[in-house]
């Protein structure tokens, strides 16, 4: 199974990358689960045509009990992608990191993987690895590979460096490894040079290069990914190429 966690600075395009990658995997015939791990709960919006799924933490807050079935906290979106959002506590209160751990425990209890039997599961994680909760997706048995989304902006690269170091620190724990950089272009000055230098200094490959595209924004306004909007566009092809790379890798590793 393809098990990917997507990290990166806030606002860098993690949800865009994750949902387009999910859509691309589904377009190529794979059964996909996408789990948004962010209190904002907007990771899967572009897979659901603007009809959001009820986040797990919101369910617990509103009903004061745990959901008893997957149907209550999931929705099937484009290409059959099963969409789940952890959500979070009331803003300014509680513990969002703990919310992610609680959600994962719950999904385990509800036998998510046994019931849905996915070919791929993608975790879209809020910002940096700020505490144990936000490292939960890369723990043993969950994601096996980490993709770091970055542009050439200074703070995006800084966050990417922190994420890489955090994952490195977990080596002895049998956690996920960083698979590579998803270069999400913002067209800032000397952008390619900066990202390539960053990747080389950490011995990380750039495994996808996503051009800045108004089409992404145009289709997002319609509640769609570019894969759903027009899979023949150049930007869509970049996501499809990344999906093919991950599929081939997974097949190689399991044979």
């Amino acid at each position: 199974m393809i098990k990917i966690a997507v990290y990166g600075k806030g606002g860098i395009g993690k949800s865009t990358v994750t949902s387009n990658l999910s859509a691309a995997l589904a377009y190529l015939g794979k059964k996909v689960i996408q789990i948004g791990c962010d209190p904002k709960a907007d990771s899967t919006a572009n897979l659901l045509s603007g009809n959001p799924v009820f986040p797990v933490m919101n369910y617990m807050r509103d009903y004061d009990k745990e959901p008893e079935s997957l149907e209550e906290i999931s929705k099937v979106g484009y290409g059959g992608v099963l969409c789940i959002e952890t959500g979070g506590p009331t803003p300014g209160l509680g513990c969002a990191g703990r919310g992610i751990i609680t959600t994962f425990s719950l999904l385990e209890e509800l036998s998510l993987f046994e019931k849905f039997k996915p070919d791929a599961v993608l975790y879209d994680v809020l910002g940096d690895v700020v505490c144990g909760g936000f490292a939960a997706p890369i723990r043993e048995g969950l994601a096996s590979k980490v993709l770091i989304v970055t542009s050439g902006e200074k703070m995006a690269l800084y966050a990417a460096g922190n994420i890489n170091s955090a994952v490195e620190n977990f080596k002895e724990r049998s956690y996920a490894n960083v698979r590579g950089i998803v270069f999400n272009r913002r067209n800032v000055l000397n952008e390619e040079e900066k990202v390539r230098e960053f990747a080389a200094s950490r011995n990380l490959p750039i495994i996808a290069d996503i051009p800045r595209s108004d089409d992404i924004i145009r289709f997002e306004d319609e509640g769609k990914t570019v894969i759903e909007g027009d899979p023949t566009m150049e930007v869509s092809k970049r996501f499809l190429d990344l999906a093919k790379l991950l599929i081939e890798e997974d097949e190689r590793e399991n044979n």
Binding site: C95, G97, R98, C131, G132, A136, R139, E172, R173
Partner: protein, 423 residues
């Protein structure tokens, strides 16, 4: 107010169940918690503390370590202690604080095992569930770690052939009707006596439910005098070698809710069925004996209490498997009908009948009890039982060691002594 206890006690937590389940297996048992709480798990809930040694530790978690995520400190301490003490295994569990901040004890156990070479594992607890969950999870994790799958698979073919021959021999014997069945088979079978007997594991024995030495002795006596071979008794009077041979049994006797996860694990992974029930009384014990044979033969899980319960004006308070078994024993041995009021809020609810109750709330319990004439339960329930006739049945998981010495033992014994014990 709901879910509060103003007058009565509360049950031991999952961390106590974890310690109790792993007490005798030679491992280093570590609760990740602030220091100063060891006696909660040992002297209060553990009658073996004064007789048998156990490497039970608290990690001494500080606020600073929790906030800073100083997991390395715990790993270093575990490695130093393990290298010195050479335990058979290292088992970790979480108190509420590490559970809340999401400390990854699976990863810490993995790191410690890599460093020391000593089998290490994490048992899921959070200090807020009951002893049943803690003990149940601990038994399963221990079995997962120590049942040697490879050697089991190698011997499986041979054992299977032997077992099939034995069962075939039983099936062909038309005299199999009562307690002397096994003797008849032993006399007529061509297979050696040792392999002829059905092998039984007793699963789910901890002092939290079975505090007295006599409890365990009676369970073993029941198995042996019924013509079975005791394969393992999990987890009192036991050792790690018994965990390793669990799959050798033909059938499991599940004597508490704490034993349920392991019984289900052994059924799903090794095709060993289980019978649910504590052999209280004489006739109910006989019934369990018959059902153990039936279960082994048909590879079917059986609730021994299922046909032996009727609604009555007697209430039995406590853990579901023990209480339902006692109710069934009263029915078949003494003709008394009793309802079970499950008061732990955890465990095996499948065994309960529609006329039974599940009640964790003190105020609600007080109301329910008004409808009964006789109440059987731990002495700490007595203050909310009004002027009803109260029969004392101490439960270690509820009142600790306060009343243990007066606790009657009804396992494989007449229930008439309940009157005597309460005079």
């Amino acid at each position: 107010m709901n879910q509060t206890a103003r007058i009565i006690s509360i049950y031991a937590a999952d961390t106590s169940g974890f310690c109790s389940a792993l007490y005798e297996y030679g491992g280093m048992v570590v609760i990740h918690d602030a220091s100063g709480c060891n006696s909660t798990y040992t002297t209060h809930d553990e009658p073996r503390w004064y007789d048998k040694k156990c490497m039970m530790f608290i990690s001494g978690l500080t606020e600073k370590d929790a906030v800073m995520g100083n997991d390395d400190k715990l790993i270093d301490d575990l490695v130093i202690a393990a290298n010195k003490l050479k335990p058979e295994f290292i088992a970790l569990c979480a108190s509420p604080l590490p559970a809340m901040i999401g400390t990854d004890l699976d990863a810490i156990a993995y790191a410690v095992e890599q460093e020391t070479g000593i089998p290490s594992f994490h048992v899921k607890t959070n200090g807020m569930q009951s002893y049943i969950t803690g003990a149940g999870n601990a038994f399963v994790e221990l079995a997962k770690k120590f049942i040697d799958d490879k050697s089991y698979r190698n011997s499986e073919a041979v054992n299977k052939t032997e077992k099939e021959t034995t069962l075939k021999s039983e099936n062909n014997d038309s005299n199999i009707t009562g307690s002397s069945d096994i003797n008849v088979i032993n006399e007529t079978s061509t297979i050696s006596a040792a392999s002829d007997k059905i092998k039984v594991n007793i699963i789910g024995v901890t002092p939290l439910d079975f505090p007295k030495k006599e409890n365990c002795e009676s369970l073993k006596k029941f198995i042996e005098e019924s013509g079975f071979t005791l394969n393992a008794c999990i987890g009192v009077d036991t050792s790690l070698s018994e965990i390793k041979i669990l799959p050798d049994a033909d059938v499991n006797l599940m004597v508490s809710s704490s034993g349920k996860p392991l019984c289900e694990y052994l059924y799903e992974n090794y095709d060993i069925p289980f019978v649910k029930g504590v052999p209280y009384g004489i006739r109910f014990a006989e019934k369990i004996k018959d059902l153990l044979k039936e279960s082994a033969k048909e590879k079917r899980n059986i609730d021994a209490t299922s046909d032996l319960r009727k609604e009555g004006k007697v209430a039995i308070l406590g853990e579901s498997v023990l209480s339902s078994s006692l109710a069934a024993a009263f029915f078949i041995d003494n003709g008394i009908n009793a309802c079970v009021i499950e008061t732990v809020g955890d465990g095996d609810f499948d065994i309960l009948k529609p006329f039974d109750f599940r009640c964790e709330d003190e105020a609600y319990l007080e109301e329910i009890l008004k409808d009964f004439d006789v109440i059987i339960g731990d002495p700490l329930f007595k203050p909310i039982c009004h002027d009803k006739r109260f029969v004392s049945l101490p439960h270690e998981a509820f009142s600790g060691r306060c009343f243990t010495k007066n606790a009657p033992n009804f396992i494989y014994a007449s229930l008439d002594s309940i009157e005597e014990s309460n005079k």
